[in-house]
């Protein structure tokens, strides 16, 4: 079954790349691995016939957001001072272990429970989902749609104001 081989390949690469985001010491590598993770997830979305989300994931997430990240990394010209293991503080290691145990448990439980509901086979979506998405977005989800525009306005105002270069201190508000 080539599809399932493809799926498991994406699964493993996504997981490995996610790990590498955390493990690599160079921020640029981290960003590159993050893009890889996102691309693998987009592939998994495609396998689930969610073409639209997959496209958005690639264009907006892997494209726009990560370019922004890389841009800032280059702009700040960060040195590789990203030391991982020796930097654990006394408490931090326990927190990490706790989180790990918690999620291994949750994951195992999910696994077992979901094994039992294997017979619930999901029906396929209608093939032309994009018009339906557009209609639902502008009817049922009209309010969140509008709120998102407010959110983006705030982000633009804020980013422009915070990152703006200072002219000589006191006169900057007349610029």
């Amino acid at each position: 079954m080539p599809v399932s081989i493809l799926y498991y390949a994406l699964f493993v690469i996504a997981l490995g790349a996610a790990l590498m985001v955390v493990l690599s010491r160079n921020t640029v590598y981290s960003a590159a691995f993050l893009i890889l993770t996102m691309l693998c997830l987009a592939g998994i979305f495609l396998l689930m016939h969610q073409e639209f989300v997959a496209a958005i994931q690639v264009i907006v997430y892997a494209g726009a957001i990560m370019v922004l990240f890389l841009f800032v990394i280059m702009l700040l010209n960060l040195r590789e001072r990203e030391i991982l293991l020796p930097d654990f503080r006394s408490l931090r290691i326990w927190v990490v272990l706790l989180v790990l145990v918690f999620f291994v448990q949750v994951g195992a439980t999910c696994f077992i429970v979901l094994r039992q509901m294997r017979d619930v086979y999901p029906p396929e979506l209608p093939p032309d989902t994009i018009p339906l998405i557009a209609k639902t977005l502008l009817t049922k989800y009209l309010l969140p749609f509008e709120l998102v525009s407010v959110l983006l306005v705030i982000a633009i105002i804020g980013a422009a104001m915070i990152a703006r270069h200072d002219e000589p201190a006191e006169h900057s508000d007349s610029s």
Partner: protein
């Protein structure tokens, strides 16, 4: 195909916890923000998986909103990093000690 659903959720939770660990161990603010992006991606995977299991477009739309939230956060966060870097020459969170605590 439902075994994909199980696997997706396991993958989602795995990436989510990797993100948490990254948040806790990383010292560079941009790396921390990337760990948070990992967590948001994990949530997206969960949304899409559930949307698929319900055969409904609602989950798909929710993903779009989550992506927008991530964009807005990234824009503001990176702007803050730039400001910090300009005034201190570093965005290492361990060196943020003016506010004692």
């Amino acid at each position: 195909m439902t075994s994909y659903m199980i696997n997706n959720l396991v993958l989602s939770l795995a990436i989510f916890s990797i993100g948490i660990i990254g948040f806790l161990v990383k010292r560079n603010a941009i790396a921390i923000l990337m760990a948070i992006e990992l967590m948001l991606n994990a949530a997206n995977l969960a949304f899409v998986t559930f949307a698929y299991s319900f055969a409904s477009v609602d989950g798909t739309i929710l993903v779009l909103f989550v992506i927008t939230v991530a964009t807005a956060e990234a824009a503001v966060g990176l702007a803050i990093f730039i400001r910090i870097y300009r005034s201190r020459g570093t965005i290492d969170v361990d060196k943020m000690t003016t506010l004692h605590g």
